[in-house]
């Protein structure tokens, strides 16, 4: 593309801008029709009377009338807030540790974080139900060994929800903080030490301060993602942990009250947007995309530095105390020890599902009394499961193709144009990641109902493509960012025309990014549930939808077998994607 820049930049600047941005147009139109319009319409519906079509605040009056909905809103905020806090507290040391590892280990450790991130929420939640349940792994081990007499209440309460939510969100927190931490020049901490700062002070005053934008971005993303959760609270929580998204699903699926669902969705969207706005005021949204943080000035900054200084002094005393109590060797092992524990927390529950899939028992006992393949036989001989599996694969494949094409062209457009609209377009393409999925899903449900796309594969593909576009755009944009555009210019000066440059130089060099984007989109679609709940109906279900339905009815070992299959598919895709993404 920049071969175009080279040859035409001085003479035809106007045409250049046009030609580069043209590539983003299909994506912009697609998102306008299937993302912006349905979400806007949903917000509109919430202020319209469903009978007469006239303006009405009835839905909101109903929310305010009883304290049920406000209480659910409060619960949603509380759970999301605690989840964000715990994810940061657990994720920060892990991200810090991984950022300081030598390159060859860093990639491997990152996989331990990536695999749980991409593992389906359903599989993860199913795993926790098995681990935490009344007859679950922890309780059978605890009662079996006589530590406790009564099974511990670990499930269907706030503890269960927090475990599930934090487990799901720590990877996101780590992966958001990691780039910021990796970008911090390690010599700055050394410099602080040579200038007289003890290690603890050097860390807080320099490293921690510089990592704050990453911490804030991680907190924001975890908080917003948590607002829209429904799988984890539905299965791990009790009545006291009902969250907003669960109410929305009930309103649409069981009560068919669209305008009320619209009002609830609007509340969630507003909550998400307000969080973004506050973040933007404090740190600037560009930090999420890797830009530099804006520097706050005046009294707030002085206050912040003074606060850090106090924390630094306090932790300096703590560090000295710990060293005299535990000794230097033990202290040096604290961080790696903690990080391995967190990794075990992230990885083990999912792995525990594997032996259960091979159980010979009729029940989900742990350890299994014997092993066999009967539950895989049940899975593979059930037409319902097999059709759902085939549909999931097909939908994921088409979604991945569409999202990679749209995201790739958009990334190319943004990399080659220098307009001031670039930031806005980028934000629009990333928006499906910020707006809670449940809001998108409900919005698409209205639209598809009128277009007759409910319970069709096309509807699923469209919905999943909307969700997958941010992932493909970010992946491909990252590759294009490191791509040396002078190579295109070099090819042009060496006599290659634009097509030859594209096929001979550009595409071979960014191929890894394209394959990785394709696979990420594939995974996104393959274990997507929210849209599937609304859009796939009747017999036309996807694998996650079928799992959801089964899990609501009854836990059984078939689910373990299905989970293992989903886990293997996703992990394989992920490992291939990582191989392609990392430069050989």
């Amino acid at each position: 593309m920049s071969a175009v820049t080279l040859s035409s930049a001085p003479a035809r600047p106007a045409r250049l801008r046009l030609s580069a941005l043209w590539l983003a147009v299909p994506g912009l139109v697609f998102l306008a029709v299937f993302f912006v319009y349905p979400v806007a319409q949903l917000l509109g519906l919430s202020i319209v009377d469903p009978e007469s079509g006239a303006f009405s605040a009835g839905a909101y009056q109903r929310i305010a009338a009883t304290d049920v909905y406000l209480r659910v809103l409060g619960i949603t905020f509380r759970i999301a807030g605690w989840t964000a806090l715990w994810s940061l507290l657990i994720g920060y040391p892990l991200a810090y540790w991984i950022a300081r590892l030598p390159n060859m280990f860093r990639g491997r450790m990152l996989l331990f974080v990536m695999v749980p991130f991409w593992t389906s929420y359903l599989v993860k939640t199913f795993a926790w139900m098995i681990v935490l349940g009344r007859n679950g792994i922890i309780n059978s081990l605890a009662t079996g060994s006589g530590i406790v007499d009564e099974p511990l209440p670990l499930l269907h309460n706030q503890f269960g929800v927090m475990v599930g939510m934090v487990h799901a969100m720590v990877p996101l927190a780590v992966m958001t903080m990691l780039p910021v931490m990796a970008g911090i020049d390690r010599r700055l901490v050394q410099a602080a030490q040579t200038l007289g700062a003890a290690p603890a002070r050097a860390f807080w005053l320099v490293y921690f301060k510089l990592s704050l934008p990453g911490v804030a971005a991680a907190g924001l993303l975890v908080f917003i993602s948590s607002l829209g959760f429904f799988i984890v609270p539905a299965f791990l929580g009790g009545r006291q942990e009902t969250m907003l998204a669960q109410l929305i699903i009930t309103q649409v699926q069981e009560l068919l009250n669209w305008s009320f669902a619209g009002a609830l969705s609007a509340m969630m969207l507003v909550a998400a947007l307000v969080s973004c706005l506050i973040y933007d005021r404090l740190f600037g949204l560009s930090t999420i995309a890797g830009g530099s943080a804006q520097v706050s000035t005046g009294r707030i900054r002085d206050l912040g530095l003074a606060l850090l200084s106090a924390v630094a002094t306090l932790s300096g005393h703590l560090a000295r105390l710990a060293q005299t109590l535990l000794g230097k060797r033990v202290c040096a092992g604290l961080l790696p020890g903690f990080c391995w524990l967190v990794i075990a927390f992230l990885v083990l529950p999912t792995l525990l599902v594997i032996p259960l899939a091979f159980t010979s028992s009729q029940f989900l006992e742990f350890p299994p009394p014997g092993y066999g393949l009967s539950w895989f036989q049940t899975y593979f001989s059930s037409p319902l499961w097999i059709q759902a599996t085939i549909r999931s694969f097909a939908v994921a494949f088409v979604t991945a193709l569409a999202a990679t094409a749209i995201g790739g062209f958009a990334a190319l457009a943004l990399a080659n144009s220098r307009t001031r609209w670039g930031g806005l377009i980028f934000a629009l393409f990333l928006a499906p990641m910020i707006v809670p999925r449940i809001v998108v899903a409900v919005g698409l449900f209205y639209l598809f109902a009128r277009l007759g796309l409910i319970a069709t594969d096309l509807g699923l593909v469209i919905g999943h493509t909307v969700l997958a576009i941010p992932f493909t755009l970010v992946t491909i944009a990252a590759v294009l960012k490191t791509y040396d555009q002078r190579l295109d210019q070099a090819a042009a000066t060496l006599g290659a025309n634009r097509l030859r440059t594209l096929t001979g130089v550009t595409i071979p060099l960014v191929k890894g990014g394209l394959v990785a984007a394709f696979l990420f989109a594939f995974i996104t679609s393959f274990d997507e549930l929210t849209i599937a709940i609304f859009v796939s109906g009747g017999v036309k279900t996807t694998l996650p939808k079928q799992m959801w339905d089964d899990m609501i009815l009854q836990l059984n070992p078939t689910l373990a077998a299905v989970s293992v299959v989903v886990f293997i598919v996703v992990t394989t895709m992920l490992l291939i994607a990582e191989r392609f993404r990392s430069p050989s």
Partner: protein, 352 residues
Amino acid sequence: MTATQPKTAKLVVEGLCKRYGATTALEPSSLSVAEGEFLTLLGPSGSGKTTLLQLICGLVEASEGRVVIDGRDQSATPVHQRDIGLVFQHYALFPHLTVAENIAFPLKMRGCASAEVASRVAATLDMVHLGHLAGRFPRELSGGQQQRVALARCFVYQPSIILMDEPLGALDKKLREHMQIEIKRLHRESGATIVYVTHDQEEALAMSDRICLMNHAKIEQLGTPRDIYERPRTAFAADFIGISNIFRGRWDGNGTIETVHGRFALPSGARCQSQDAALVIRPENLHLGAQDGNVVNGCVREVVYAGSETRVIAALDDGSPLVLRLGPDDVVPGIDERIVAGWARDKAVLVA
């Protein structure tokens, strides 16, 4: 250039060594630096000079050996308690602090009263001519200005030893020469002991009291710039500092060396550890015509005019290059002209 102030310390490095598994970053090395001395660690990249610097200030833990400052062993002293300043390559300025806050950082770490911090920061800013930029952030400064902030941040707390790791590496030539003079001035005014790392031999010659030449994780030669330039001990030293014509050959254990270009007379009293030796002649000591019976024949390949001098590059009969430096009054031969060059036997150096 010995300082008169009594404040500065003396640094002794004894058998200091660093190994990472099977690779050795620094062979056991010893050296001592006098009070107020400007010592330069010079060598190609990977020669161990930065490792030695990091060992001295304690950022890297030594495998063996010790660092002694003012007669006190520093091995157990953590980085932040050693009385050492380090100017980093690429400066390592704190991006979240202003220029003044960067410079105040070491004073605050030492618990200085805020009035004293303010006055010392202001004085140091003046010293490096940056008073007007106190409120800026590092990224708003040019490379040369950032460099001066880094120097100010180090000089402000008056450490008795200052280590500098290629501090001028990122600057352009003109600015580099200017900053060399600036650093010499700060050195003179502060009286600090300075250990300076560079791979630029001209910089080392221009700035140092003594040069510690390093190669392959070892100290190759330690001496004054004049020592090392005029009396290199190894072919590497001769080749790395300045331009040299080096003829490898066999020393007869007496007054001559046998090379492929002929048998040459050595300076009186020249000795070498082994018979496998080399003769080094600097370009400015080569003249057209025979001298003391030392003659080589060649054919002119290139003539480079460089203002105060003219460099002639010839090919000897076996194709190896020969470099002569001619003064403004010398007759310059033409390209492809055959020449005879010679040197006074006392001007050549026998090296290992």
